[in-house]
Symmetry: C2
Subunit: 352 residues, 2 copies
DNA sequence: ATTAGCACTCGGGACTAATGAGTGCTAAAA
DNA sequence: TTTTAGCACTCATTAGTCCCGAGTGCTAAT
């Protein structure tokens, strides 16, 4: 634990640097930190902080800049989360519009809101619920040998896909299909639908197997698509403006562009004790992010489904202001989604 | 019309500049242009070309660079579209995968292909067909007071939206709904569905009006969504690499980010005599694009539906190579989509 | 009409000098 | 023992200067 005064100085350095982006020197600190000591004393403390690895100087004759460890210490011990102002609250709320009832849209909107609000890039995932089950499957004929299959899950995710069949689609076929679907899929957890399950089912169909097979494979595809939580990134171009990325912003954008690691980004470390996670610089496991920080917050729907939303920006970001904003946004999302979830859960299995 | 030799020189300048990005001088041209004249003669011609506004020099002691007018003249009169090599063909083809039957996906894939192939940004629109009509509308109950409405158009576009109802959804309601839908919407051109039409319909329902209203409004929304051709942009981050955008790439990306003008970009000038359109620098109506060129190609499905696909990049792009590539890609798209269209058109109105 | 020759221009790189913010250290003061 | 004043030192940054060389435009000869 750092001595009181040194903490104060570190906090002042971090906050000042976050605000101005310039290395901060001992003189400047004198007035900012509210300490009644001379700049020389502060310099001594700063030398200590430097030795301990919390701050560093870009070059000999410059002020100090927080290191990653410095940010970490600040975030863990010194930072006082700011109170959200009323107009900020409103701003966050007004960005979210949840009439549509579609979780994917809500998360998208939440991302956009964060982008507007923070001027960073935002990342969000649609809820993934290991206990989600199939609510409904519909087949909509499109042409003699083509149909749309529509899948709806208990979490409100809707997926659809076109499917070409080998044989013409007749009324009989449709009836048979909805029969099979009703018996085998309704209420089935998404995780239970896999290739083996589909093949076993096809095998059991006997004569109908040939005509049904493509349709069932399509169902499998849809379930797959619905299981994977979608990762959404927006506001990347905001990052271009920050001088810390300067010339190699392209690299970062390219990295963010290929979706694969994004899921990893938010899934992150398993310590679910805290609902908000701050990752600074190389704490992100990717070297492309070594100059970036993420603030990731998990939302919950009921007890099972979870997802995450957060931001990506330069390590020099206003943590104390951003954390409460993201927390607030997450709360709203959780509430919205839980409402719908409740509604749906209570609906039972009524059919027409 | 420029004299033969001057044309040759202009072409050489444009091509050389496109290749190297460096201003090209008289000496260099001597060997490139294949002219057996001295550099002094070439200088005289260059002076003429400069006077005519086709080329310019960045500073007094530098070589020449094509002006916008220079590119234009080159593109209109001098450029010989390159033959596509076999492996380039394959590369384009392999990027497109049209098993899914979903036009939106195909266009998306086409965009990605262009991005990979050209290293520029790609833009594409989904087909818009003024004669498109409603093929099917389904209602899928989700919870007591909530349903998914799914719309399918004759062009294969599928849209869905959640809808909250004021009264619980009963089997009766569902039957009534599909009855109304069948009678009033099936086969209706998208353009015929509008607020007035919906209101008239609601008014005619009498007692059922209250329960149906939200559902019908949702249909209206869906039709709206299906009518508007979606604009897709990808590969923006590629543009960061080009030094012509240097420091203000952010501006361009921001511009491309807000979707609104994108539709305008591709809809463009009405001269439909040529299926491929090249817009150089300020020929694009937006000042953010004054250093960019677009190559836009229109695809057709049957006789009605059209859309566009193209690229955006710095004016210094290899027009003679890109034009045939994009043309080829467009041909493939047209073919793919037309195939499905035929299939669907021939399907008639069979119902289950 | 073409060409050789030449003076001229000017961006960019290399080098130098001056500036000044900020430091670390030392020795005196509290 | 802690704090402070003072001072020499470092080094990024900026401005100034010089020089090089690619490329030009012009003129006079072919």
């Amino acid at each position: 634990m750092l001595p009181q005064r040194r903490q104060k100085i570190l906090a002042a350095i971090v906050e000042q640097y976050i605000e101005t982006g310039e290395p901060v020197g001992s003189k400047a600190l004198q007035s900012i930190a509210g300490l009644d000591v001379s700049s020389a004393t502060i310099r001594n403390e700063m030398a200590e902080l430097t030795a301990q690895g919390f701050i560093t100087q870009p070059h000999t004759s410059a002020g100090r800049v927080p290191t990653q460890a410095g940010y970490r210490y600040y975030v863990d011990n010194l930072m006082k989360p700011a109170e959200l102002e009323e107009n900020e609250r409103r701003r966050i709320e007004s960005g979210l519009d949840y009439r549509s009832g579609d979780p994917e849209q809500l998360l998208q909107a939440a991302g956009e809101t964060l982008v507007d609000f923070t001027n960073f890039a935002a990342i969000s995932t649609t809820p993934s619920d290991e206990h989600a089950f199939i609510k409904n499957i519909e087949m909509v004929p499109v042409s003699p040998k083509m149909a749309m299959i529509v899948l709806l899950t208990s979490t409100g995710i809707l997926k659809s896909k076109a499917c070409r069949t080998d044989v013409p689609i007749t009324a009989d076929l449709q009836d048979a299909f909805s029969d099979i679907v009703r018996k085998n899929f309704f209420g089935t957890p998404l995780s239970d639908v896999n290739t083996v399950m589909i093949q076993t089912l096809v095998a059991s169909l006997g004569a109908k197997a040939l005509s049904m097979s493509p349709l069932l494979v399509t169902i499998s595809d849809l379930v797959e698509a619905a299981s994977v939580s979608e990762v959404n990134l927006s506001g990347q171009s905001n990052l271009l403006g920050y001088k810390e990325y300067n010339d190699n912003a392209g690299q970062l954008l390219d990295f963010l562009h290929k979706e694969e690691p994004l899921g990893m980004l938010v899934s992150g470390s398993g310590d679910s004790d805290s609902d908000i996670e701050i990752r600074i610089g190389s704490e992100n496991r990717y070297k492309e992010l070594e100059n970036s920080s993420m603030i990731i917050s998990k939302y919950k729907i009921g007890d099972n489904a979870t997802g995450a939303i957060g931001i990506i920006g330069p390590t020099r970001m206003n943590y104390s202001k951003l954390v409460p904003s993201i927390k607030y946004l997450t709360d709203i999302i959780s509430k919205f989604l839980s409402d719908v979830y409740e509604e749906e859960s209570s609906s039972g299995e009524e059919d027409s």
